[in-house]
């Protein structure tokens, strides 16, 4: 495997980081997972460019990213539609394309969703830290020197020319997620739902919450009707572990959906977003509206299985095609 200069960041836009599926197994040291907020988009992007699912990609937020190919490289853009263009031409998303040396891929702004993923054939050649290439912005390590990408950064890929043959791969159109701006997010009650009044729990389910502009990779802050705690219950708890998708209700009664940049917290958690809906959280943007519905653990696992089966089917289809191709080429 030879590492080759594959792309240069001309402008990072609002925020662009290197992310893979995250860093697990170090929670005991306070090390959060980080990782792609929309893991579904990242996995499909990698498969489209013939990478392992967990390869690192660029995660870019809302607008402004411009990158230049330093060699011919296979790319796929998945996740939010931030209106990607190659030079002046619109680029079809959820599909692999060759970005020719010298061509510029740019993102002018969101028509739906919040974060796009750019997968590069041959991945991003940077050393994993604690088992992952994801950037931890709060702790300043991993990814590209522990920071968000800046103009002038050059990224390397492993033998990108070997992946060019996988161009024109397409994800199943019927399975491409839509990002409506009005979201229904499925949750499981708890672990501290009993600390809220029945009225408070109803408020949580019946209200429409608006996503605050203070949201970022650490959490989605919501504005809307306040969720009442029971009278004898203090606002904080003894700090304990939490996961991305935990919905904390601090003293002010406004819920916050925790994303993957912390391992612990000291507020009560009324509910937890189901695993199958976690990727959607990465596509929610300020101003969007969220409605929560509660489901059972069994239903949540069914939903997760459904998502995994789609990915598995897509992989099988790709490997069928690849084996056919091998038969044609002697």
């Amino acid at each position: 495997m030879a590492a080759v200069e594959s792309i240069e960041i001309l402008s990072p836009g609002l925020q662009t980081t290197v992310q893979d599926l995250g860093r697990f197994g170090f929670g005991r040291y306070g090390v959060a997972p980080s990782g792609a907020l929309d893991s579904f988009a990242l996995r499909i992007g990698n498969l489209l460019v013939d990478n392992p699912e967990n390869q690192a990609c660029l995660e870019t937020t809302l607008l402004g990213l411009r990158i230049k190919a330093l060699t011919d490289v296979l790319i796929a853009v998945t996740g939010a539609n931030l209106q990607p263009r190659v030079d002046k031409r619109p680029l079809e998303m959820w599909c692999s394309h060759i970005l020719n040396k010298g061509e510029i891929l740019s993102f002018s702004g969101p028509s739906s969703g919040c974060r796009s993923y750019i997968a590069l054939g041959g991945g991003i050649d940077i050393p994993p830290v604690l088992g992952s290439k994801s950037t931890s912005l709060p702790s300043g390590f991993g990814g590209f020197q522990g920071i968000a990408l800046e103009a002038g950064a050059i990224l390397f890929s492993d033998s990108p020319q070997a992946k060019l043959v996988a161009s024109h791969r397409k994800f199943e159109p019927k399975w491409i997620p839509t990002y409506p701006g009005k979201w229904i997010v499925r949750v499981i009650w708890g672990p501290q739902d009993d600390d809220f009044t029945e009225g408070g729990r109803q408020t949580f389910l019946k209200s429409s919450y608006k996503v605050s502009s203070e949201s970022d990779r650490t959490g989605i802050r919501l504005d809307g009707p306040l969720i009442q705690r029971k009278a004898d219950i203090p606002e904080s708890i003894i700090s304990e572990g939490l996961i991305s998708g935990s919905i904390q209700v601090p003293g002010d009664g406004k819920p916050i959906i925790i994303l993957g940049e912390t391992v612990s917290g000291g507020y009560r958690k009324i509910a937890t977003v189901i695993s199958a809906d976690l990727p959607l959280l990465g596509q929610i943007r300020p101003g969007d509206e969220i409605h929560f519905i509660s489901i059972s653990v069994d239903e949540a696992i069914k939903a997760l299985r459904k998502m995994e089966i789609r990915i598995k089917h897509f992989k099988e289809r790709l490997s069928d095609k690849a084996s056919k191709r091998e038969k044609i080429i002697p």
Partner: protein, 228 residues
């Protein structure tokens, strides 16, 4: 109070919160550590991460690999079958601290709040051995307890947006050390040259849950000559 048996709470479809008590106490935290170390040793298939804290252990798992019920059974079995005498003892770590002035900009405030001299704050802070109740908030941040009642101080009304790496701070009955620059609402009383978190090191955190920590005061000159 230490619970007679484990209390399990589901955290969504992929994490289980295991509680062993309902308060901050060295004894409850010790039991959490025993369960944590035993489970870590077991390497149960499907378990992705373990996050021990004051009175609970969060077990994060892949629900397509192991069911909640199966996991609860395995955890209960581990709890019943373990021999606390075989759990390795935690280590004791000495942390040198330069107190006050620019290193500890809140030392004077904390002293004034308690109507004692800054020297007395330092004496109280260094005289005690603290237990690492958990590592959380940011990578490598140790929650240490408990400071003497005479030092128990409410959080700052306005948190700082940038607390320097190495800051030693107090809030309520806790003391802690900021391992990386981050926002923070605790009162900064000193600074340590010791590296608490190094992602390239194995393990990446100097301190682990359960460790015992003692602070000792050094001068700014001693700090300049300090070698790890």
């Amino acid at each position: 109070m230490i619970y007679d048996k484990l209390i399990f709470r589901v955290m969504g479809d992929r994490a289980l919160l295991v509680e062993l008590g309902d308060e901050i106490s060295p004894a409850i935290n010790k039991k959490i550590r025993e369960l944590f170390v035993s489970l870590d040793h077991q390497e149960i298939a499907g378990v992705i991460d373990l996050v021990p804290s004051y009175r609970s252990l969060l077990v994060i798992y892949n629900p397509l690999q192991i069911s909640t019920l199966e996991l609860e059974n395995q955890i209960a079995k581990t709890q019943n079958g373990m021999d606390p005498a075989r759990i390795p003892s935690p280590k004791t770590v000495e942390i040198p601290v330069v107190y006050g002035d620019d290193y500890g900009p809140d030392l004077e405030w904390v002293a004034a709040y308690h109507k004692i001299a800054p020297q007395e704050v330092i004496r109280l802070h260094t005289q005690h051995t603290y237990q690492v109740y958990m590592i959380g908030f940011t990578s490598g941040f140790p929650y240490l307890g408990e400071v003497p009642e005479a030092l128990s101080t409410p959080r700052r009304e306005t948190p700082r947006t940038h607390v320097p790496k190495g800051s030693v701070a107090i809030a309520q009955k806790q003391t802690g050390i900021y391992p990386v620059q981050s926002p923070g609402g605790w009162h900064i009383i000193g600074w340590t040259p010791v590296t608490l978190f190094d992602p390239q090191a194995e393990p990446p955190s100097l301190l682990e849950m359960g460790d015992q920590v003692r602070f000792h005061a050094i001068t700014a000159e001693e700090m300049a000559n300090w070698q790890p």
